[in-house]
Symmetry: C2
């Protein structure tokens, strides 16, 4: 099986068009309304937030995708349309009808995702007035403009696409995403649209998406905060002629989602470095993820990373406060290639080397529980002054 | 029943002496070794961390207090004696023997608590050599010197004492504590020693202590991080002649522990304000605490507080990601006296007034779940640039 990177993001998949336009939803006047169109109703699946407080678009998208079919995804920044009452739900519904009318399809074949502030109503006139403009702008070159239009505190446009090939055939998977803060669990807190020409549908598509999301967007944390708007939507056109095996398709999907997830952590609010946290020696993969999540969720650990401080005791304390049982006397902690703790006690390590291993744009941290053979990799970033600045001033 | 504040901290209780001396455990040369002595073996109880990674002194103290009796508590800053292997446990044991010899009591009647860095061995010679000095320094005036000697990143000395009086009689409760970061759950992450002359002992004392700790130290959070060294130790001398009712004693204990807990949050690492978070309308008190803990645990909520940003959506999102079920459509959020959200949607509030309500050294935030009559108050603080500075540079 081979994977080749492609340009184009969501438009890497043949027949998919996209666009991003300014609709006046962001005070900055930047592009804030995006549309991804598969050209006709195709197989679709979505994984959404498990937060008890959910945005109006989350409910509408869940209803519309329940039949496993969709044609287009409307996305906006500027307001998440969360905690906006019945008006918010009515507006989300109405927007799918307006898109459906413009594209010539059922409202039920249109999904909607919103991101931005919670509790701020989405300005109805401007939101709806932007739809004809974004439909008119649809093009096979529009992938990155769509990806740009959904950015909030993001500083990098997040796109990825690959061609997957095995002896049976070939298919394309392309995607875009936004997300830099309120990034955590159950799945990462973000929006992503992924397209593919693989003929995968129904329960098989849903199970592929769920599984891949759990292993990619589900294994990153910027701040341990879960949003109310998370959605990963996959549109599968099925136009590929000779398609690879299902497992090859899944690897392609995992590659695209994995790259998008990693780009979110790299672009984490205020982040100065990516932490690649590997937990090994666990009794189960779930245990490994649980320990990693407890460590990545500790603000003390993440501020120590900001200072390149080899304060491994905080890693053990964070893991010990978590829900997964382990034996502290068996734990080893390694920064880069420098093992600082073995059997739960400090080793004679060179402090300068440990600091060096924690410096730079990308850092490897390994925690071996010494209990079994299961492992997991989890991505997080450091907690810096800039994170505080960004989040103390977000609405002001 | 009446409560009157007293000076003296742990020494407010008659017969208790205390001391704090420099033993060279902190590089600064400040006092770092403390002793509290009840003068003879008295009733004792302790509540300790539930972290899976526990300090050597936690294990030794648990063993020594199991019989409900103790005479003295040795405390040090500079090293938490955690993740230090069998040598760490042996040293903790040895220190109780050295104190016992100097005081003329069994090692088993001496408890030990350590705070400071994890994984750094406690320097044996200096630690043990300091004990004769701290025993010699014991005095009825030594309460605040003992309280000072256990400070780490604390900037305020934490002491409180009250006289409790009802128709049946009177008793005294006095205490000291340390704690400013790694402050959270199960109970707050800190050390505290409380003395009283009330004749309470055995299972009754244990249950009083557990209950009061759950309602005081158990309801604060500075950073959601649990330490490996938490301990609240209560020594009850029983010398009070006419003692008040058990419930009056418990109120006195709650007053002292509550004041110590509040002073920890006020002194939270980098904190610029105290947040008094009141959750009402819950189905149970446990639910109210659970919702409060989820909100206080959100770094997005706490950075918004730092910026006096009335971003109530983050409060709902944090509560919604938590373990307690509620109906977002019934929730109201109030900053000071300004209700910003009612029935889960934004109200027409004055933004300037809301910002004003979130400014200043102390802020009230109320969340009404609209489901029942139970409530709880929880204390936390804002997450500021200074928190990042303090914790990015703690060991470096």
């Amino acid at each position: 099986m081979s994977l080749v990177e492609l340009p184009g993001g969501v438009c890497a998949t043949q027949g998919v068009t996209a666009a991003g336009v300014p609709a006046g939803l962001k005070p900055s006047g930047r592009a804030d309304l995006a549309l991804v169109d598969a050209g006709r109703p195709v197989a679709a699946a979505a994984v959404q937030t498990t937060n008890q407080v959910q945005g109006a678009p989350v409910a509408v998208t869940a209803r519309h995708v329940a039949n496993g079919r969709a044609r287009a995804v409307l996305l906006n920044a500027g307001s998440a349309n969360v905690c906006t009452g019945p008006d918010g739900v009515a507006l989300a519904e109405e927007s799918t009808a307006v898109v459906g009318e413009a594209l010539g399809c059922d409202a039920a074949d249109v999904l909607v995702c919103s991101t931005g502030l919670i509790g701020v109503p989405l300005p109805r006139e401007r939101f709806l007035a932007g739809i004809p403009a974004v439909v008119t702008a649809l093009s096979t070159e529009g992938g990155s403009r769509a990806a740009k239009a959904i950015m909030t505190t993001d500083t990098l446009v997040k796109q990825a696409a690959v061609r997957v090939e095995d002896t049976a055939g070939t298919c394309v998977v392309g995607g875009m995403a936004k997300g830099a803060g309120m990034l955590e669990p159950a799945m990462a807190t973000m929006l992503a649209v992924v397209t593919t020409d693989a003929p995968v549908q129904g329960p098989v598509l849903r199970s592929c998406v769920r599984d891949v999301v759990a292993h990619t967007f589900g294994r990153i944390s910027v701040d341990g905060c879960q949003s109310t708007s998370d959605a990963v939507v996959v549109l599968a056109t099925g136009t590929a002629a000779n398609t690879p095996s299902l497992s090859a398709f899944k690897e392609g999907l995992a590659a695209v989602c994995g790259r998008l997830a990693e780009s979110m952590v790299r672009d984490g609010e205020g982040a100065s470095k990516l932490i690649r946290l590997r937990v090994t020696g666990a009794r189960s993969e779930g245990d490994a993820v649980g320990v990693a999540r407890a460590i990545a969720g500790s603000v003390l650990v993440r501020t120590a990373f900001a200072g390149a401080d080899p304060n491994w005791g905080r890693i053990l304390a964070a893991a010990g406060a978590g829900p997964v049982a382990f034996d502290p006397g068996r734990v080893a902690v390694t920064f880069g290639d420098i093992t600082v703790c073995r059997f739960g006690v400090v080793t004679a390590f060179d402090r300068g080397q440990a600091v060096a291993a924690l410096s730079g744009r990308e850092v490897r941290v390994a925690v071996d529980l010494g209990l079994g053979t299961a492992e997991a990799t989890f991505l997080t970033c450091d907690l810096t002054h800039d994170y505080v600045t960004i989040n103390a001033e977000y609405t002001t």
